[in-house]
Subunit: 124 residues, 2 copies
């Protein structure tokens, strides 16, 4: 099981790779059969190929920054992100809490993102 | 399914009742067969009687305040708390992310708290 420090390092890498739209780098953090539920309550996407398509579509329009502590518990963690979404000349902002679960090798096995499209706002 | 506004109001009530150690008030927010996993990765506690004992033991030693936005997604939400834990003359502080799931009546069916005893610290 990854240590809390290892988990925090993975989250920092994830944020960095999201901001660079480094899709290979993001996928390397995930286990092969991982799932993503983004937003929570929506469709659960499974497997490296599906996640690659998901991030290839979403990451280029997103800048994210950590907006609080990374709360680690057991093999999971939760953290708050401030996301900046660019659509054409239009920027919108959103608060999201992401929850990651890790396997024994420190790969992400599930990602769940808590946010609501109705909460998009024009300012930080 | 509760609306995002209803979910946020329930979270505010939860924080208020935690600070008052209002155990009946806290339990009234929960469904009868709800579960609590606090911290995540620990034992899952189930049912009103078990949760009553859990809160009767923990709430009197805790003051909590919301420390960020309440991220609502579907029938779930996640939010960051700053917790102040009093043991005798000693105060310690902790960041925790709580995740609630709600039923159709707006009662909490599960609570998961992301924190780690190793992260207790002497200052806010």
């Amino acid at each position: 099981m990854p240590t809390p420090e290892e988990i925090r390092n993975i989250v920092h890498s994830y944020v960095e790779m999201m901001c660079k739209s480094d899709i290979d780098g993001i996928l390397a953090l995930y286990a092969e059969d991982a799932t993503a539920e983004d937003p929570v309550g929506g469709e659960i996407q499974r497997g490296a190929e599906v996640l690659r398509n998901f991030y290839a579509l979403t990451a280029p329009a997103l800048q994210v920054e950590l907006n609080g502590p990374i709360c680690v518990a057991g093999r999971e963690c939760a953290f708050l992100l401030l996301a900046e979404l660019t659509m054409g000349d239009n920027k919108q902002y959103l608060d999201a809490t992401d929850v990651f679960t890790f396997d024994d090798e420190g790969k992400i096995t599930s990602m769940r993102a808590f946010w609501n499209p109705a909460d998009l706002r024009p300012t930080r």
